[in-house]
């Protein structure tokens, strides 16, 4: 189903928030063209690790990241790496749909604009259309690209955010509980979209819902108390986990 080449590779990642050791020696290979899910109880460090992958943790003053994270072999925490460029390559979608209060078009065009990815309006139009198509939103919005993005329904907004992230042609898409603010039907649509996106991107998704992880991911990583307890093929994690903590969590014996 998914090619097994590694896209990102985290080696011995540790994160401290001040004195709080939030993440302890995490080693994960994010595979190319694969949906990887991070599950685990609240506060176990899923989001923290996710935000390490595109250095969103840089914006938290107290956060300190140790270890190496490679994107296609290059250390993203190298001094010469500009986090801004990195984030264009490792896009992010957030828990609550957060379109800019601008037109749909402008929402999608923003990334290409600030990164100077297109040379003219025609190219930009093309990028916007392609991104919206990939996000399975084009047909719903093509007649009202000038309408404000905030006027869309929750699920559409989230897909717009995905389109926006896609527009900078990232290699990896990070999603932090992208459906937790959506109703079930919108959730299903976004899950469906994630399933489709996997043919083109690596997708990493944090979710509280084990059902969701089971539905959309090919690989699952289980975090517990800042440790990466188990990482493997989703089917195996859910039918026959190796670690008793994973088993306990999956079957609802620990939170």
């Amino acid at each position: 189903m998914s090619s097994e080449t590694s896209k990102m590779s985290a080696q011995g990642v540790q994160v401290y928030y001040g004195a709080n050791h939030a993440l302890k020696d995490v080693n994960v290979e994010i595979l190319d063209k694969t949906v990887t899910a991070f599950i685990g109880p609240s506060g176990c460090g899923k989001s923290t690790f996710l935000r390490c992958l595109n250095r969103m943790n840089d914006t938290v003053a107290s956060a300190r990241v140790l270890g190496t994270i490679l994107l296609e072999g290059e250390d993203i925490y190298d001094k010469r790496v500009d986090p801004v460029t990195l984030r264009a390559k490792v896009g992010m979608v957030f828990q609550k749909p957060n379109p800019f209060p601008k037109s749909i078009y402008e929402n999608v065009a923003y990334g290409p604009r600030i990164h100077g990815l297109t040379r003219n309006k025609a190219e930009l139009d093309e990028v916007v259309e392609q991104s919206l198509r990939k996000a399975a939103l084009w047909n719903e919005v093509k007649d009202r690209l000038d309408a404000p993005g905030t006027g869309l329904s929750g699920g559409q907004q989230q897909r717009l955010c995905i389109a926006r992230a896609i527009a900078t042609s990232p290699e990896v898409l990070l999603m932090d509980e992208p459906c937790s603010a959506l109703d079930p039907i919108a959730t299903a649509q976004v899950e469906e979209l994630i399933d489709e996106l996997r043919s083109q991107f690596s997708v990493v998704i944090v979710t509280h819902s084990m059902q969701q992880a089971a539905r959309v991911s090919q690989r699952t990583a289980f975090f517990h108390l800042g440790n990466l307890v188990e990482y493997g093929e989703t089917g195996q994690i859910f039918t026959n986990p190796r670690d008793p903590r994973t088993e306990s969590y999956i079957t609802g014996r620990i939170g």
Binding site: D82, V84, I114, G116, R119
Partner: protein
């Protein structure tokens, strides 16, 4: 060259720099912006900032320093007459110098020059003295030459910034990061203005109070119960009558504002329908938007006489239209919206879930308010009342116009009393001479007032802040 023109030139250069920088970056990237580290306009902005900011900063600094430099040099030309102040003479010098720049052909004769000057709109109080004229001439030429030097320097700095930053442009240059750092420094500078203000307030209050206490014993100021300034000297400048008046007025105003404001806030946020709320709330807030001078006038011409004619005189409590009661009542009206608005916000900040919880248990609305909403909002409401108190203590115009000027320690609210702020105004308006204790006492009063309100504010702010965090 006037400062305005100079700044225009600098800005013009900066705009040119912007265009050139952008262009150069694009050219270096062979027209494909994607090869640049940053967007082309950042290269332009970088040149703009390096051209404009140092030059303008130099200009501003110079503008502040120049008068001091010139003053120092010119003062040597003046022979100071007995009793005359250097300040006043320097004022004359400046005026004359200014006049000289206006006159196309200033006469050398003193008398004609004076008429010439007065025709030009420079009215001189005293005779034009020769040494003043020399000083003015000196002043004039000094200023002119300094201004020339400044202009040259500023333009040079601007050009240097432009050239250097243009030369540094290359496609790998992190123009965006550079610009952003630059902007950050500007932002920090602006943030420091607020700090500087506090610093300025404290410094000016403390230094002048220091001067005052050298002239007048601090013990008398702090512990005497008599206030009786005499401009001839031998004043008694005791703080207590003023403090008493201030507190008395504030108490009365709070006694009016706190219950009315709170009840109004409760009604508006809990009972009133959206329509009532939408009309009444802004109406009440008008009360807060009305300047205190208006309340002052209201106290002076309406409330004062009213109270005197219908309460004080018939009851035999006094016959002054200025009274603590007048000022307190009017100030109370003014403070209603301060209490009600803040309380309203605070009551609204109590989550609806809290009310639902109470209704869900079968509580009536007033029970919900009294037992759930108000206790939850109490710290915030206390904070609101404290802030209103701070405002009452520092309020000036109402007491100046409504409370009277007599420093008294009395309990009768229909008597005129005075407050700290009233006395600050009365000691500092008119001809001020910064040498007598009667003037300088105002700074000591200011310091007292500042400390009072500071304490109240800090307590109130801490309470309000804590309260806000509760629901976040």
């Amino acid at each position: 060259m006037s400062l305005g023109l100079l700044s225009l030139i600098v800005l013009g250069l900066a705009v040119l720099g912007f265009l050139a920088g952008r262009q150069r970056a694009l050219r270096l990237a062979q027209g494909d912006a994607r090869r640049l580290h940053s967007l082309p306009s950042y290269y332009g902005w970088q040149v703009f900032l390096f051209t404009a900011v140092p030059a303008l900063a130099l200009m501003l600094g110079w503008a502040f320093l120049q008068p001091m430099l010139v003053d120092a040099r010119v003062a040597s030309h003046l022979t100071l007459a007995e009793g005359a102040s250097l300040e006043l003479m320097m004022n004359d010098v400046r005026r004359v110098a200014e006049g000289l720049t206006l006159l196309p052909a200033p006469s050398s004769d003193l008398a004609t020059l004076k008429t010439q000057l007065s025709d030009a709109g420079v009215a001189l109080g005293a005779e034009l003295r020769p040494d003043v004229l020399t000083a003015a001439r000196e002043y004039h030429s000094e200023s002119a030459s300094l201004r020339m030097i400044l202009s040259g320097l500023v333009i040079l700095v601007a050009l240097a910034g432009l050239g250097l930053s243009l030369a540094r442009i290359n496609p790998e240059q992190r123009a965006r990061n550079l610009v952003e750092h630059f902007v950050l420094v500007l932002l920090i500078g602006c943030a420091l203005v607020a700090v500087a203000t506090t610093f300025g307030i404290i410094a000016s209050l403390v230094t002048e109070s220091w001067h005052f206490f050298q002239l007048y014993p601090a013990r008398d100021f702090l512990f005497s119960t008599e206030w009786n300034p005499k401009f001839g000297g031998g004043s008694s400048l005791g703080l207590w009558p003023l403090v008493w008046g201030t507190l008395y007025v504030s108490l009365i105003s709070l006694a009016v504002a706190a219950p009315l404001g709170l009840l109004a806030a409760i009604y508006l946020s809990e009972y009133a329908g959206p329509k009532t709320r939408a009309t009444v709330k802004p109406l009440l807030e008008i009360l807060a938007g009305i300047p205190s001078i208006v309340y002052g006038l209201f106290a002076l011409i309406t409330v004062g006489p009213l109270l005197r004619d219908y309460f004080a005189m018939p009851m035999g409590w006094g016959d002054s239209s200025s009274s603590v009661m007048t000022a307190g009542l009017v100030m109370g009206i003014m403070l209603i919206p301060y209490v009600s608005s803040l309380s309203d916000d605070i009551i609204n900040a109590v989550p609806q879930a809290m009310r639902d919880g109470s209704y869900g248990l079968g509580a009536t609305q007033s029970e919900t308010i009294k037992r759930v909403v108000l206790p939850a909002a109490l710290p915030g409401i206390v904070g609101a009342v404290l802030l209103a108190a701070s405002r009452a203590i520092g309020e000036t115009m109402i007491v100046v116009m409504g409370a009277g000027a007599a420093a008294k320690l009395s309990l009768n609210p229909f008597e005129a009393m005075t407050t700290v702020t009233v006395k600050i105004v009365s000691q500092l308006t008119g001809d001020t001479e910064f040498a007598s204790p009667e003037t300088l006492v105002a700074f000591a009063l200011g310091l007292t007032l500042f400390c009072f309100t500071l304490a109240l504010n800090v307590v109130a702010l801490v309470i309000v802040r804590k309260y806000r965090e509760q629901y976040e």
